[in-house]
Symmetry: C2
DNA sequence: CTGTTAGCGCATTCAC
DNA sequence: GTGAATGCGCTAACAG
């Protein structure tokens, strides 16, 4: 149309040194005028690269995940890579489908938190089978069997230490509540709790739905069998908190509740909730950095990094 | 390798009627064995379709957005389409870049909430310029000038009604707090508030950062110039709430706070927070349905749908 | 400095 | 019922 060949256009737009400044300028103007945009799909197909990394997570309704996303984004923003996020809703089928789709040309690598159903089914083939040249990194909920880079949180240790703190502050009957016992993260945390209380008393585990946790905690409180609760996730934390409020044992400090909750919630509750804080942003940053490293040197051995949590005491006693 | 041509394989895998059941079976087995996956990029390039819709939002750190995402996903899950989500972090540049990338072959249509910076800059070209055959839908924060399908929330009306309720319950000095006055949603809500209080008293607007809101509300409370606060977003709600708690005017019901907050937060605060609830899931569902409709009939005239909010009273007085 | 050609991986006519 | 050839939009090696 402008009396030049197609490849000249391509070269001009890519600022090739073999095109004269004059024609470059003409072509660029025409491109702007006609609002030409190179078809990324074709570029990807040709180059075999996507310049995109995929993030596959079970849910977005939780503070930790949004923090991790922020961390990933802050790192990736400094690179030419784009991010696409997909949500599995804790479904194995959806996870497998998404991982397959993404790795079929859309992305160069993926960052994954494994869904609950996948853990229950122990079905990990979708992580093993895809083209080895795609980079894979798991964070938070990882599968031991699958060989890949990993970014972990010190779940067992963090809960162990937090429980110890409770014991040190004079608590004698500590109950654990959880809605996430099906996934390895939950199991690790239970280990930490158990290891801490074992010398003092038998572990008391309430591993159930939100509603049932609230009811069961109330019963235990009525029986006077609890003076502290360790909650493993936000749902369990709030259920335990509500039970304590209902039984009026929180404001007078008869019972302490500590849990995994966002700062925003913990600080606005009355009384404030003591929490175990995970550094989600750091997890995301490390995950992104590690993946980028692997993208550059695909042959490197897989690494695992552990990010420590912080015990954020907000009660007095 | 299996003594058939490339096109036979393609047809067999796509279940073409021109291939004999026998060879189909052989090819499928081989495909499974070698874990063959058709390259989606190539398929897209060939077909000109992506079977994917893009969701572009400014942030994910807020309950409404996660609800909308759930709504979108529940609808899209019933279709052959995939979803990819991208976050703009309220940045114009990122938004423009993402919209351009996605529409260059990755997606068939996009669902967008416009970022704050884009509103401030009034820079909407990236929404106008892309290929008309891509479908575009805006929700929540929409640009009046841009012609496309829209799903809106009844911002002005909802705040108008809520403020009226406060007045009806005997409140006489209502202050508004907001961190979102730069975007049209915030402006609409301010209109609703103003329209409601105007007959009674001059509007009092605290439009600031979270920290400043908390301080300014405290000052107003000290001066005895407020007996109710309408907060336009979660940050403002919690800042106003903390100020009220600090001044001990909430538990004795001297002051009412109502705001935009997730149920999870509202119900666990003491006292519970009265809220204006947006039906995010419904917004997402409608957005997805409308976009799918447009994908089928690209020539239809743009539609706008308004989703009503619900006033969820949790205080007594 | 510019144009011709081939090929990325697939689906789809059109012959056979 | 099967295979050879063409092209999706682009880049890059090669000629001119």
């Amino acid at each position: 149309m402008l009396d030049v060949s197609i490849s000249t256009v391509s070269k001009a737009l890519n600022d090739s040194h073999e095109i004269s400044p004059a024609t470059k300028e003409r072509i660029r103007e025409a491109a702007k005028l006609y609002n030409y945009q190179p078809n990324r799909i074709a570029v990807n197909l040709k180059s075999g690269k996507a310049n995109t990394i995929g993030v596959v997570i079970p849910s977005i309704q939780n503070f930790f995940m949004t923090q991790v996303l922020r961390g990933i984004e802050s790192v990736i923003a400094e690179t030419p890579y784009n991010i696409i996020i997909s949500i599995t809703n804790e479904s194995y089928e959806k996870e497998a489908q998404i991982v397959n789709t993404l790795t079929q040309g859309f992305v160069d690598g993926i960052i994954v938190t494994v869904s609950e159903e996948t853990f229950i089914k122990k079905a990990y083939d979708h992580f093993r089978s895809f083209d080895n040249r795609k980079a894979l990194l798991m964070f938070d909920r990882v599968v031991g069997d699958v060989v890949c880079d990993k970014v972990l949180v010190d779940d067992e240790d963090a809960v162990f230490k937090a429980t110890k703190e409770l014991l040190a502050s004079g608590r004698k009957q500590i109950t654990l509540t959880s809605t996430i016992s099906n996934i390895n993260v939950g199991k690790q945390r239970i280990k930490g709790y158990t290891r801490a209380v074992q010398p003092i008393h038998d572990p008391v585990l309430i591993s159930d739905t939100v509603e049932n946790i609230e009811d069961k905690v109330k019963i235990l409180l009525d029986q006077g069998k609890v003076d502290a609760i360790v909650a493993l996730d936000e749902e369990a934390s709030l259920a335990s908190f509500r039970a304590g409020k209902a039984k009026k044992v929180l404001d007078n400090k008869a019972v302490s509740v500590i849990g995994y909750t966002s700062k925003k919630i913990a600080e606005n509750l009355t009384p404030n909730l003591t929490t175990i804080d995970q550094d989600g942003v750091r997890v995301g940053e490390l995950a992104a950095e590690l993946l980028l490293k692997k993208l550059k040197k695909p042959l490197k051995d897989p690494e695992s990094i552990i990010v420590n949590s912080i015990y954020n005491k907000r009660f007095t006693s």
